[in-house]
Amino acid sequence: MTLTVQEFLQIDVPALLAAVLVCAACALVGNFLVLRRQGLMGDAVSHAVLPGIVAGFLVAGTRETLPMMLGALAAAALAGVLIEAIRRLGRLESGAAMGVVFTVMFAAGVVMIERAAASGVDLDADCVLYGQLETILWLAPTGWASLLDPAAWAAMPREVVTLGAVFALCLALVVLFYKELKITTFDPALASTLGIPAGLFHYGVVLLVATTAIAAFEAVGSILVIAMLIAPPASARLLTDRMAVQLVLSVALGVLAAVVGYGAAAFGPLWLGAEHSLNAAGMIAVAAGLILALAVLFGPTHGILGKRRAVGRLRTLVTTDAVAADGRRP
């Protein structure tokens, strides 16, 4: 089976574009979750939005993005309020409060999906978990020349357009509020004394994560969203101590994971002589995991090997100093 240019442009380019945009947007906002020790918020949000998505779908009756997105945002807000209420009023630790809320909401979503599926609605639990990267099609291009044709670009599938808009929004907000985000992340108390509303930024970050997760959800599924929120920022965190560098690096690593993962899933099996491709969302998560593993092992200053080497160098230094001191002794 050979790959034609037209197939590549119609099937692979839009899917790859969607994956790259998702990974870039998630990695960018994920930095603030990782630095604020709220990594599990991504986990909670991406499970808890399920009933909202299904409700939006059932109310609107179509697979339009807007009602689903509104439903998901409402569900995310509800989850946030419930977690906070259980934590404050019930005096439970936040991990348990999150665990209760997101499992119960996810269960409600699953039941709603199955009820809807029973009455012949086209929605299933699988697409929520794994996403539907493979079904994003761009029918306009016929060959390389179409890439120069504005009409073909205008026919870009709406998933890609939505994701592009969300990435632009994230980028704009992060650039615009870079200073405030930085200070509220590292020292919320100092931020408050300087008159920056740290609480507002806390909720702003959560809201931005929710928006990104929801937009990404339909294309790539909940699991990849969690992977992309956490793994690239965590890798970047091991490679640098500067926040600006970390932000850029995490986006680059996210894009790398998307390209490598998508390539391995879509073309790897074909090269090995198999008939079908593998699940792309899963493979991108695996690629992100491999990148993280490499960063953990080989990160220059914070990697395990790097730290070991630094300890070894210190040991040599101390021994040689001791020997030198010994030699000077009469």
Binding site: G90, A108, V111, L129, I230, P233, A234, A265, A285, V286
Partner: protein, 400 residues
């Protein structure tokens, strides 16, 4: 129609709807019991969400075990092999989290999120590979994700019941050790308890519950069995032994009702139904539990506020002042005040309150180190809180 369903529900609940459904319901209840018991200590040890990563991380193990089974020519879906694979990759996920937290600067939440999603992603890739290879018996694999009680055969249900009972028994046997681990690991380590090994044991028990729950509840929601019942039980009591028992009961009840409901509604995934039942019990506990429920706490606070206001009003009246409005009406209702002045009964109550306040003041200033916990200082009757000789001493000191 409705009476028929009610009748059927009653027969399943009371184990009279045929041997198979009775075994499944009993097995699920046992699973809930084990989840509540083990989960109590996970909750207190603040490890609730680590088990979420554990359960997601079982998926690649299941898929690899299936591939190995297929390569060895075993019949499509050999359950022990799949569960062994699940344990292996779940434990590998746990160890990865531990290693990330210990050897890198990443915090636990990032480690959990990364392991959870990457392992699950690998599992999904392997599932799509299995689908492409078109091996037999793969249909059962998807039930591991969202669960299905109907998938439970009799022998499996008995096995689940036995393993769950073993997990609960292990917690009962190691109750003392787990208690010290849950409340003060530092103290436990100083006292020479093998804290690291106990932690490992606790996570091992969590892994056991996760794996036996995979088929019924599914790997995404099995963590709810470990989190929701103990969290709900927390509203009913402050004592660990009671907490463990209540959590076990709530877990068993969720499993029992949930399995019954999903037997009645076979289209719905069992795991989700069980979790929703547990969630409903949580909601009821959160609102109405007498010990720490929202309503009980609000009532207690209102009561305390009223008590306080009443005493202050009485002391104002005793000093010759007057009290108007709602509070005045309330005092009239209580028979303490008539036509703006204290009645004999009111005078008595005011004197008692005044004495109580005076003794409390003296106690709080003279013996600040002896102040008891869980008492409303200055409001609770001091004779009920402190020993008789202490009260007498305070009175004598006041007289001199």
């Amino acid at each position: 129609m409705i009476p028929a369903i009610m009748d059927e529900a009653w027969r399943i609940l009371t184990f009279q709807a045929g041997f198979n459904s009775a075994v499944v319901v009993a097995g699920t209840a046992a699973l809930g019991l084990a989840g509540g018991t083990v989960g109590t200590f996970l909750l207190l040890r603040r490890r609730a969400l680590v088990s979420d990563a554990l359960s997601h991380a079982t998926l690649p193990g299941i898929a690899i075990a299936f591939l190995i089974g297929a390569a060895l020519g075993l019949p499509g879906r050999s359950l022990p092999l799949l569960l062994a694979g699940a344990v292996a990759s779940g434990v590998l996920g746990l160890l990865t989290i531990q290693a990330l937290v210990r050897h890198t600067r990443l915090t636990e939440d990032a480690a959990i999120g990364a392991v959870l999603s990457v392992f699950f992603g690998l599992g999904i890739v392997l599932l799509s590979l299995i689908q492409n290879l078109e091996l037999g018996g793969q249909a059962g694999l998807k039930t591991f994700i969202l669960g299905q009680t109907a998938a439970m055969a009799q022998g499996e249900a008995v096995g689940i019941g036995l393993l769950a009972a073993a997990a609960a028994a292990a917690v009962a046997l190691l109750f003392k050790e787990l208690r010290v681990l849950a409340f003060d690991p530092g103290f436990a380590a100083v006292q020479g308890w093998p804290v690291a090994r106990l932690d490992l044991l606790l996570m091992g028990l969590a892994a056991l519950v996760t794996v036996i729950g995979l088929q019924t509840v599914g790997l995404i929601l099995v963590v709810a069995l470990l989190i929701v019942p103990p969290a709900a039980a927390r509203f009913w009591t402050d004592r660990l032994s009671t907490l463990t028992v209540v959590a076990a009961l709530i877990g068993a009840l969720s499993g029992w009702l949930g399995a019954t409901l999903s037997a009645l509604l076979p289209k719905l995934p069992a795991g989700a139904v069980i979790v929703l039942v547990a969630g409903a019990i949580f909601l009821v506990s959160f609102l109405f539990a007498p010990a720490r429920g929202l309503v009980a706490v609000a009532l207690r606070q209102a009561r305390l506020r009223l008590d306080f206001a009443e005493r202050r009003a009485l002391s104002v009246l005793l000093g010759g002042g007057s009290v108007k409005g709602m509070l005045g009406a309330w005092l009239g209702l209580r028979g303490f005040v008539r036509t703006g002045t204290l009645t004999e009964r009111g005078r008595e109550a005011a004197r008692a309150a005044e004495r109580n306040r005076r003794l409390w003041d003296r106690f709080l200033t003279d013996y600040p180190t002896l102040i008891p916990a869980h008492v409303n200082w200055g409001v609770d009757p001091i004779d009920d809180v402190l020993p008789v000789d202490m009260v007498r001493m305070l009175e004598e000191r006041g007289a001199s």
